[in-house]
Amino acid sequence: MKPAAFKYIAAQSLEHALTLKAEYGDEAKFLAGGQSLVPAMNLRVAQPGVLVDLNPITGLDFVGLRINEGLGIEDWGLTTIPNPQSLILHIGAMTRYRTLERSAEIAAQCPLLHETMPHVAHPQIRNRGTLGGNLAHADPASELPVVMLVLNAQFKAQSVRGERWIAARDFFTTIFTTALAADEMLTEIAIPLSTDSDAGRTRTCFMEIARRRGDYAMMGVATSITLNAAGVCTNAKLGYLNAGDTPILATQAAQTLIGQVIGDDHIRAAAAIAHDEIQPPGNIHASVAFQRHLAGVLTRRAIKEILEFRF
C-alpha cells in the first residue's frame, strides 16, 4: 500500500509544468488533488515515473464570469456584465471542490453544478479534489463529467505547442481516457450559461442514488429542460453517470420530450427509453437490471422535479 518510487517535481509555473510534460510525455503524470491518483499509486495500479505537482502553481484556481467575446480571453476576473445573454462561467482546472461548492457565483449562475457538488465524495476529499483533475481522470461513474456534458462545457487544453478548446462531448473518449494528448494539460473549463428569454427558459436538476452520501453513486442523472413561452419543450438533455464507458446522454429518451407540452405520458415514455438506451456496467453494489431500474426512476423524478418546482 505504498507508491512505487518516482521522481517528484514541484511545478513553479504553468510553462514549467507544460515543459516537463512535453519532455517526459506519458512517463509523467500531473498531480492535482491526488484524490484519484494517489490511491491508484498506493495500490500500484498507477506507477508513474515522474510526478509533476501542479499545486504550487498560482493562477489555475479561479471562478469567474465573462461575457462571451469568443473563448481564449485573458481577463479572468469577475466583471459586471452589461449584456447577460452571453455569459460564460470560467473555472480554472486547479479549482478545488470546496471552492466550487461555496461559490456564490456558481450557486446563482450555474445551479446544476452547485446542486451536484455535495454529492461528489466526502468533505475531506472535496478539500483537495480539483475540477480539472476530476475531468482529466474521466471516470464515467463520477458526477462531474456528465454535468459538464449536459451543460455543453468547453475544456481548454494547453501544451508547449499552443492551446485548443475541446467540447465536453468530444473530451471523454472511453473509461479513464480523454482526448488530451500526452503533452497537454487541461487548464480551464468554460460553461455557457443560460438566461431566461422569450425564446426559452432552461431549468436543471441533479439526482443520484448512492449507498451512502459521498460514495460513488449506483446511478445518477443530470437533467436540463428548456420551455418556450407557450410551455412547449424546445430542448431537453438527460445525462447519466455510471451508465457506460463515458458519461452518457440518452438522446432518444430526450427526443420524446422535445416539441411537447410535457405530461405524465411523455415522462413515462422518456424514462422507459432511457432505461434501455443506457449501457450500465453493473457491479457488486448494483446489478445491470437494478441500475437500469434506478435510471428509469430517477428520470421520472428529475423531470417532474423540474416541471413542478423549478420553473
Binding site: M1, K2, P3, A4, A5, F6, K7, Y8, A10, L31, G34, Q35, V38, P39, N42, L43, L51, D53, N55, R98, P118, A121, H122, P123, Q124, I125, N127, R128, R212, R213, G214
Partner: protein, 157 residues
Amino acid sequence: MKDLHTITTTVNGKTYTREAESRMLLSDFIRHELGLTGTHVGCEYGVCGACTILYDGHPTRSCLTLAVQANNHTIETVEGLTTDPNKLHPLQQSFQDAHGLQCGYCTPGILMTMKAFLAENPNPSETEVREALSGNLCRCTGYQHIVDAILRMKDEG
C-alpha cells in the same frame, strides 16, 4: 536511486526539517519520522478517514498526500488539540462524556474533521453532522454516540 527531498513543515505549531523520499506518504512521515502516532492509518486509499489531519486548516487525508507536499505548509494533528496532558480539548471531552468512542481507532480522524466542521458550522443540525461524518468510518460505535458527542458541542458553545 532515491528521490530525496528536504521538507520543512510546521506541525502543531512546531517547525520540523527532515529529509524524505518523494514516495513517502504524509501519514507515514507524521507517524514514523515525527513520531506523532496519534494519526492512524486504516486503509491507505482514502476511504476510511482514520488518517485525516488539518492541512493548512482543512481536513485532508494524510494517506493521499505526499510528505513533500507538506513542505512550507502547516499541519495539525490530534496531538495539537491540547497542550495540557491533564486537560482534554472540549471536543475530546465531549467524546468522552457521550461515549463517542470504543476502540478509538477512528477517533483522531473524526476529531480533526469535526474541529474544522464546527469552526465553520457552530450550530449544525443532526443531518449536517451526519453528512460531515460521511468520510469517516467507525467499526465500533454505530455512529450514534459520535453524533451525540458533536451535537453536545452546540450547547457548550
